[in-house]
């Protein structure tokens, strides 16, 4: 019981004394932590940016709207009839008709080419049917099938799925996510090596102490414990600093991002690192710090013989 108590006391001592040691050399510690924090913040910031833009594709995923541009010869009336017919398809939820007049009015309002249009004898715009498939129809193949069948209708000039740009955005996002993973791996290894090197220097500075401890019977695990805790504190501290950096960055970006979102009808909410993500960030940073120290200790302690 007493030994267990002593064991815990050794751990607690190493835990706090390693922190105390770091705080006693504030300049060096701050330098190291800032470098580590910048690397971590870069990865976390990029991740968060992608997560924010991700909401765009997530919000749009369900609007698989199909636009049917009818042939010029088709009148508004027969267009409406066709709409009724399509509405009866089991895979179609709703059909909106945009008549030639509506299309022209809209165009006139938004384009600013009103006078040019007046000069034309005939309305050049076609009747458009906006077809909204049932929400259960999300499979790309089935959608494709619907589009081709609509395209074959004699009144239809051509059918266009408004999905195309969503798909493009989605593949850009997939690329960005891959980029986040890659960047995280690279910057994670940087954190690993920076802490490792810091611990190597620390070990070098305290080599007399290490040698003396070995001479009076210290095991390697006893000797490396405070260094591992130093690695832990460096990693954890950098994780917290990185979180602060990213959060401040998001606070600065909040307004312009919100404005952008509002322009697109509130298509996304500005997102910060959540509780789970923050805990994960701190956890991974601490683990990287410990691992970086461990690797160095494993190789350097063997070489530190009393001779």
């Amino acid at each position: 019981m007493d030994r267990l108590h002593a064991y815990c006391a050794i751990h607690a001592h190493a835990f706090f004394s390693s922190l105390g040691r770091l705080l006693r050399t504030p300049f060096t510690t701050v330098m190291t932590v800032v470098v580590l924090a910048l690397a971590i913040a870069l990865a976390a910031g990029f991740y968060l940016l992608v997560a924010n833009v991700q909401q765009l594709t997530a919000g749009i995923q369900n609007s698989n709207q199909i636009s049917l541009f009818l042939k010029d010869s088709v009148s508004d009336d027969s267009g409406a009839q066709l709409a009724e017919k399509i509405k009866k398809y089991p895979t179609v939820e709703q059909v909106n008709v945009i008549t030639k007049q509506q299309a022209l009015a809209e165009f006139r309002q938004y384009s600013g080419f009103g006078e040019a249009l007046d000069a034309l004898e005939k309305n050049p715009l076609p009747t458009v049917l906006q077809v909204l498939p049932v929400s259960s129809l999300t499979d790309a193949g089935q959608l494709e099938q619907l589009v081709t069948s609509l395209d074959k209708l004699s009144a239809v000039d051509f059918a266009q799925m408004d999905m195309q740009w969503v798909k493009r955005l989605q593949s850009i996002m997939a690329l960005a996510q891959r980029g986040v993973t890659l960047l995280s791996i690279i910057l994670g290894s940087a954190v690993l090596f920076i802490t490792g090197n810091t611990i190597r220097l620390e070990l070098h500075n305290r080599r007399d102490e290490v040698v003396i401890a070995k001479l009076v019977g210290a095991t390697d695990s006893f000797i490396q414990r405070p260094f591992l805790y130093t690695g832990f504190w460096l990693g954890f501290g950098s994780g917290v600093a990185a979180w602060l950096l990213v959060t401040v960055m998001m606070l600065i970006l909040h307004q312009p991002m919100q404005r952008l979102s509002d322009l697109y009808g509130g298509i996304f909410d500005v997102r910060y690192l959540g509780f789970g993500e923050t805990s994960m960030l701190w956890f991974i940073s601490a683990v990287l710090g410990v691992c970086g120290s461990w690797i160095v200790l494993k190789y350097q302690l063997q070489q530190l013989k009393p001779e």
Binding site: D2, R3, H5, A6, Y7, A9, I10, D208, E209, V211, I212, A213, K214, L215, V216, G217, A218, T219, D220, F222, Q302, K305, P306, E307
Partner: protein, 218 residues
């Protein structure tokens, strides 16, 4: 307790430091290791502390062949030894108390037991009242005594001292030697390497004399 069996030691980049050395130390015995500078005294002690390994023969400590000891067993062998160095090897940024407590902390002894035993050891070397000083604030003799207190605090069965009186005046040297005699009287085995022939002769204990790596007197 300690058995040297035809031990030779050759350093990688030097000549033979020890040649065919054989002797036996019984438990509770005290012996002096003498010889000219470079005779191999430190080398002999380093073999016992597994700071070096012998090239031929074997060193047995309590029946354990030190030559075959695995690296991870070395700390436990060293806990059976009290090592005293000519240059003290104290931690300069720790107090006397913390320096003496180090072997106990390493061995995982409980806090109260540590306090009790450290005070007893410091008392034995006559340094009570200086527990909270740092080594720099002590004289050479006092630092040497801190080193001795650290060596005996864990109650090791074998004490090895490499020129423990090298920096001390004759009076203090005699005092420290008497301290070693006192440990021997409570059953500890003691091996002391020293140049101080006069002192050794006055004490009248067993002498192991090395000459160019050979044991010429035991």
């Amino acid at each position: 307790m300690l058995n040297f069996d035809h031990v030779s030691k050759r350093y990688a980049d030097g000549g033979d430091a020890l040649l065919d050395v054989s002797f036996h130390l019984r438990p509770g015995e005290i012996a002096f290791l003498t010889g000219h500078s470079g005779a191999g005294k430190s080398t002999l002690l380093k073999l016992i502390a597994v700071m070096e390994r012998c090239s031929r023969g074997q060193v047995l400590l309590d029946g354990q062949n030190l030559n075959k000891a695995k690296d991870r067993h070395i700390p436990y062998i060293r806990r059976k030894l009290g090592l005293i160095f000519q240059d003290y090897k104290l931690l300069q940024d720790r107090t006397v108390f913390d320096n003496v407590a180090l072997p106990l902390v390493i061995a995982g002894v409980g806090h109260q037991e540590i306090c009790r035993r450290v005070r007893a050891a410091i008392d034995k070397v006559d340094l009570l009242g200086k527990e909270n000083k740092y080594p720099q604030a002590l004289s050479g003799g006092e630092q040497q005594r801190v080193g001795i207190a650290r060596a005996v605090v864990n109650r090791p069965p074998l004490i090895l001292a490499d020129e423990p009186t090298g920096n001390l005046d004759p009076e203090l040297s005699a005092e420290i030697m008497h301290l070693f005699e006192a440990f021997q009287q409570v059953g500890v085995t003691v091996l002391i390497a020293t140049h101080d022939i006069a002192l050794v002769e006055r004490m009248g204990h067993r002498v192991l004399k090395l000459d160019h790596g050979r044991l010429v007197e035991s």
